[in-house]
């Protein structure tokens, strides 16, 4: 019986043994520095109203990462969740959410090697969140400044973040891969499959972000700027009172 259970879902993240020790130590240092910065940055993003959302976002990312969806013949993909978390709770807080998920997966679920934890945090928490957030900001700027624009902007962030994360892995492998592999073939394969996975990521992200913006856009970190501008546009109509207060 146990054998059947064990046959399900092997590890999904980078395992021990793919990258050599120096590379793993380096990504470990990057991960520690990144999480340290995120602990400071998150203070600026979180207030009484949004803080309770942090646990939910991390829990949702953990749950959704369990559900591998099929992509093409014989392959699957799962949500990474960097763009989704960044748009909901802010990029620094998202780094903390993703790191929590990756640490729990590594230590309790044997998913992602222990010596590869720094690599997985660097890739999915730092690169995934960072690229997802930057692309989100860029697309949001190009679109009209409405709350509805938050959804396609987040989807674009998700779409790009997955192949970007795959590319970052390929770069790490080029530096410290244990087994020699032709790099052009590795880049092509990693980018190819993860571009398709990125489409799934974009769909899930769009669905989740639109669900929250529909009921409580003020809880979506990425929509705050739009809401603030809106408030300023409407306020002058209130008259001179505001000006005297200001």
């Amino acid at each position: 019986m146990l054998q059947i259970v064990c046959n399900r879902l092997p590890g999904m993240h980078v395992p021990d043994g793919f990258l050599d020790a120096p590379t793993s130590v380096a990504t470990g240092a990057i991960a520690v520095a990144g999480v340290g910065l995120a602990l400071r940055g998150a203070r600026r993003e979180l207030d009484d109203r949004t803080a309770p959302l942090v646990g939910l976002v991390a829990a949702f990312v953990f749950a959704t990462q369990m559900v591998n969806f099929p992509v093409g013949a014989g392959t699957s993909g799962h949500l990474l969740g960097g763009a989704l978390a960044a748009v909901l709770v802010g990029p620094w807080t998202a780094v903390l959410c993703l790191s929590t998920v990756l640490i729990v997966q590594c230590l309790l679920f044997a998913d992602g090697g222990i010596t590869a934890l720094g690599t997985n945090i660097t890739l999915m928490a730092l690169v995934g969140v960072g690229i997802g957030w930057l692309v989100f900001l860029l697309v949001q700027r190009l679109l009209p400044g409405t709350i509805a624009a938050t959804v396609p902007a987040a989807a674009c962030g998700a779409l790009v973040a997955v192949p970007a994360t795959a590319l970052a892995f390929t770069l790490l492998y080029a530096v410290g891969g244990e087994a020699p592999v032709p790099l052009d073939a590795l880049v092509t394969a990693m980018l190819g499959w993860h571009s398709v996975i990125g489409v799934g990521e974009a769909i899930i992200t769009a669905f989740a972000i639109s669900a929250v913006t529909a009921v409580r856009p003020d809880l979506v970190y990425g929509a705050r700027k739009v809401l603030a501008v809106r408030a300023l546009e409407i306020r002058p109509a209130a008259g001179a009172d505001d000006r005297t207060v200001a």
Partner: protein, 114 residues
């Protein structure tokens, strides 16, 4: 200078934060406890490429491989579906508590709560 208050005035709150949190948590528990059983068992993008490129064999046995929840299954629970459900729900709640606790500790305290 409180933006939240301004936003609150602009947008009538029809749905409470509590309702959003409870709905989201129920969704997460349902995904981890039920939907995860139907996840594709095919190798994911990285594993597939590693296989194809011939470096999959370099993957080492996980040092936490004897964890009671290793590979998203619960040791001692014979039924496949229950085994994956217990593992999924346990992980979801644990992540919720750790990240949620960090969020509450790191937040800027509002007026009157300092």
């Amino acid at each position: 200078m409180s933006t939240p208050a301004t936003e609150g005035r602009q947008l009538p709150r029809r749905v409470s934060t509590r309702a959003v949190l409870v709905t989201g948590l129920l969704a997460a528990l349902l995904i981890a406890g039920f939907l995860s059983y139907y996840a594709s068992g095919k190798p994911d993008g990285l594993e597939y490429v590693a296989d194809q490129q011939g470096f999959a064999a370099n993957a080492q046995e996980h040092q936490a491989g004897d964890s009671p929840l290793a590979d998203y299954a619960t040791r001692g629970v014979e039924d496949d579906r229950a085994s994956s459900a217990v593992a999924g729900v346990t992980g979801t709640v644990l992540v919720l508590v750790i990240a949620g606790g960090a969020g509450l500790l790191l937040r800027r305290r509002g007026p009157g709560q300092a």
